[in-house]
Symmetry: C2
Subunit: 285 residues, 2 copies
């Protein structure tokens, strides 16, 4: 199934906009896994297995694997998700950006080597740097637009000659031109709900990947209100650290997976309480 | 030695502004290496060994290794350069860009795992996304400014409210603010000499990494004239495919290394013919 269809199916079937980000920090793994040769893989698989019924996507962040020489564990993790939880799309968070011939190699890395369903891409180098990803029409191409970090405004918030902000121009370029095959989405941080609303107004129903809820402090109610589409969908709300490391205080070295599941349940409930009705969850009740 | 010192020493000692880009395309390796388990490593080492006396830097492009599951060959290649050709800085062309905690992992990947002396970084996410790299003060942080591809203008060429172009703002931001530790450089393509001259005017003597000579068709005379500093330095002029695959027509499967050396010699001569005097090469004569 292509990424967009899989995402829409996951939203509806699981009644969830939550994406669990897999950012395994070696310094924060449970002590019970410390020293194991595949500790990163085991940790991430445990998180995946206890949250798979609650999410619309998983998002492994490649830097956490690459810094540890653990590309093989990332391959095995994505293989595990596809095999054990078929239908849940995997977004490889890589934020690559390069010229055509090199971008083709990065697309190969994401889609052929790692078998990701979608990848995050940096738009700074322009349309031809994105085309090698777009050519994989069944895959999702998720372009950075307005990121959740404070410095995101340094460039993205600059006003152009006609008053439009750079991130707004990126949103317009992607939705009106780069998205010819319908496989684009955008990254817009949860930390700036007004800008999320502005992007939503510019791009119609295009999916928005929204980091920044959870550890980064984005307000869930404001985020859902600003970013959801009319049918209460359209958002991939990512939480990484708040779920992965939920067990650090109470359960660490006991049951980190149960703590993660509880954190994911809480996040889902908080998100769904803010979505427009009718929702599948209400129909089911 | 820190990156900036090593670069300046390499410029002067080798009298060269040439950087050889290591972009090993598996479809273009010499037939004599085809099927060998470490073909990429062997090919790149051969290129390195025949051009090391002619270059100011080597620039491996990580996508070509990652797409082939060849991170171990990239590690071994950089180790080979450091061991066999000490003093030549290695620029890891990765163009990463992410928020603070993740950027820290990417910096770890580039500088600790791969032992690169410098890394290319995308500025779209702003200053705090770059700081984890800047904190490695002995390492070079080379920020994308105006790239050599046609689509580079899509964002980088946009005029801001005050008429300044986005790439000019990036050049000013980096030189006036982000470069507090003196370890920054910029990527500016050879395909737009007027914009290269504009950046040079904005950033003083900051080194500029310039892709686009060779296969991408950038004019060497115009590039050197626009980008060199008053002492005929300041540029890292990258050529990848025109050197790596110089042997494809005449020498392929014969002596690809000799062909690559000849292409590098030709590039050096063409570059040096355009540099301002007095140059070390002239003093030596």
């Amino acid at each position: 199934m292509d990424f967009m269809s899989a995402l829409r199916a996951a939203w509806r079937e699981r009644d969830s906009l939550l994406c669990v980000g897999l950012d395994p920090d070696p310094a924060r793994l449970p002590p019970s896994l410390a020293g194991k040769p595949c500790a990163i893989f085991e940790f991430c698989c445990a998180i995946v297995d206890v949250t798979a019924d609650l999410v619309c996507a998983f998002k492994p962040q490649i830097a956490y694997f690459a810094a540890c020489r653990a590309e093989d564990q990332l391959e095995a993790l994505i293989e595990h998700i596809h095999a054990q939880h078929p239908g849940i799309p995997v977004i490889l968070d890589a934020k690559r950006g390069d010229i055509g011939s090199t971008a083709g190699r990065y697309a190969e890395e994401a889609f052929a080597r790692y078998r990701a369903d979608a990848v995050t891409v940096n738009p700074y180098m322009g349309r031809d740097s994105v085309e090698p990803y777009l050519a994989w029409e069944s895959k999702g191409v998720i372009l950075l637009c307005r990121t959740s970090n404070p410095g995101g405004a340094d460039l993205q918030g600059l006003a152009l000659g006609d008053g439009e902000k750079l991130y707004e121009r990126v949103a317009r370029l992607v939705s009106s031109s780069w998205n010819a095959s319908g496989n684009c989405a955008l990254v817009v941080g949860a930390t700036f709900p007004e800008e999320l609303a502005r992007v939503r107004a510019l791009v119609g129903d295009m999916p928005l990947l929204v980091p920044g809820i959870g550890a980064q402090g984005g307000d869930i109610a404001a985020t859902v209100s600003a970013g959801q589409t009319k049918d209460g969908l359209g958002l991939i709300l990512n939480s990484s650290r708040a779920i992965l490391y939920a067990g650090e205080r109470k359960y660490w070295d006991g049951d980190f997976a149960t703590a993660a599941r509880q954190a994911a349940l809480d996040a889902c409930a908080a998100i769904n309480a803010c979505r427009v009705s009718p929702r599948l969850s209400m129909l089911k009740e």
